[in-house]
Amino acid sequence: MANLFSNFKSVMYKNYGENPGKMLVHTGVLGWILSAMAQVSAVVFNDKISKEQKSFLIPQEIADAAINIVSYYVITSSFKNLASKLVSTGKLSTSKIRNYIKSKKVNPAEYIGKLNTNIEKDFPEIKGDYKAFKNGVDVVASTVGSIISCNIVTPILRNEYAAQKQKEAILRMHGKRQKNENNDVKGLKQPSKLSMDNYIRIASMKYPSSGLKV
């Protein structure tokens, strides 16, 4: 156990010690996963929700979590990776770094902005300045990406998804009501699984702003 913890600390130090942007993306994803697990378990272990309602709500919670996690990861890591690439190829740079490259008699037109270019590897002498600049750009890109993902894209996607699910449920309930009416005629009554009132009550609490972000 102690060994496992020691290894965990070493992994954290090696992976995130020099890469704060990556740390923000990864811990952000972990945050969404943990809050999704909390949301799903809140439904699973809630005695006040019937078994039938659970069978309806649990897949929805999982789908909702998938939207949150995937959109967060895809958008935030894309922003971060693009920013990293722009800095490592010299597209985004400081005068100090650019002047240093020029002083090494490198033709900027053939070097800057090429996919093979990697300033950190090619010029280890300016690693300090380069790293400080890159970390700043990475953190800004990760934060902008997470703001766009969490505050704009995810709420819109979630509203779309919620509206779609609500429409399907209403259609299903209409179909069921029709079926029940037919059965009533024959003297047989089917137990209703999810009433409209129940659905609206659950939906108003859950949509359009579901998922407590930790």
Partner: protein
């Protein structure tokens, strides 16, 4: 070994090699479309470097919360797929959720990062063992940027573990309380 040879034979196949070349050329064209930018303003660079060094997850959570207040209620208020009453409740709940989530998220992250700092000292004379519990093996200097980033990352992970519980114990009841308060206030405003 077998898997490696299968992987390399697939990657070296003419079709795969051609696809990789095409992909590379598309990426290069995309990169060429972005203009070069060079920063020389010392003040701007100082702040950018400072952000890279000191902007930890607690501050990111705060930034997310503040910007969320500016965007999410607006998105919910313009959701034409639900009726006006539901829209009002959902805006109130969204605002309540953002306030509760940001407050707890920021404070717990901040507290955990500070605590990890206290418990990740370098082992030595006069340093109790419990104060080195979060120090990685073999690290001799805790004043480097890399070590600061490690403390931020470890503090964030510990905070996330704690927040699994506070999500239910603090966020959920606080969100419910604030939602009810906002809805009550809104109804009183509507009556006027």
């Amino acid at each position: 070994m077998v898997l490696y040879s299968i992987k390399s034979s697939i990657l070296n196949a003419p079709l795969c090699a051609r696809a990789a070349v095409s992909m590379r050329s598309i990426k290069q064209k995309g990169l060429d479309m972005i203009p070069n930018a060079q920063f020389s303003n010392e003040k701007f660079l100082y702040h950018l470097k400072d952000i890279g060094k000191n902007f930890s997850s607690d501050k990111q959570r705060l930034a997310l919360g503040v910007t969320a207040l500016a965007t999410q209620p607006f998105i919910d208020a313009h959701n034409k797929r639900v009726d006006e009453e539901t829209r009002k409740v959902s805006v109130a709940r969204t605002v309540a959720k953002i306030i509760a989530g940001t407050l707890t998220g920021f404070l717990i992250r901040y507290g955990c990062i500070k605590s990890i700092k206290a418990f990740s000292q370098i082992p030595g004379k006069g340093v109790p063992k419990y104060k080195t519990i979060f120090t990685p093996k073999g690290v001799k200097d805790n004043t480097t940027d890399a070590f600061d980033q490690y403390r931020n990352a470890m503090g964030t992970v510990v905070a996330l573990g704690i927040m699994v519980f506070t999500n239910f114990l603090i966020d959920a009841p606080l969100t419910k309380f604030l939602t009810n308060t906002f809805v009550k206030h809104q109804k009183m405003e509507d009556k006027k």
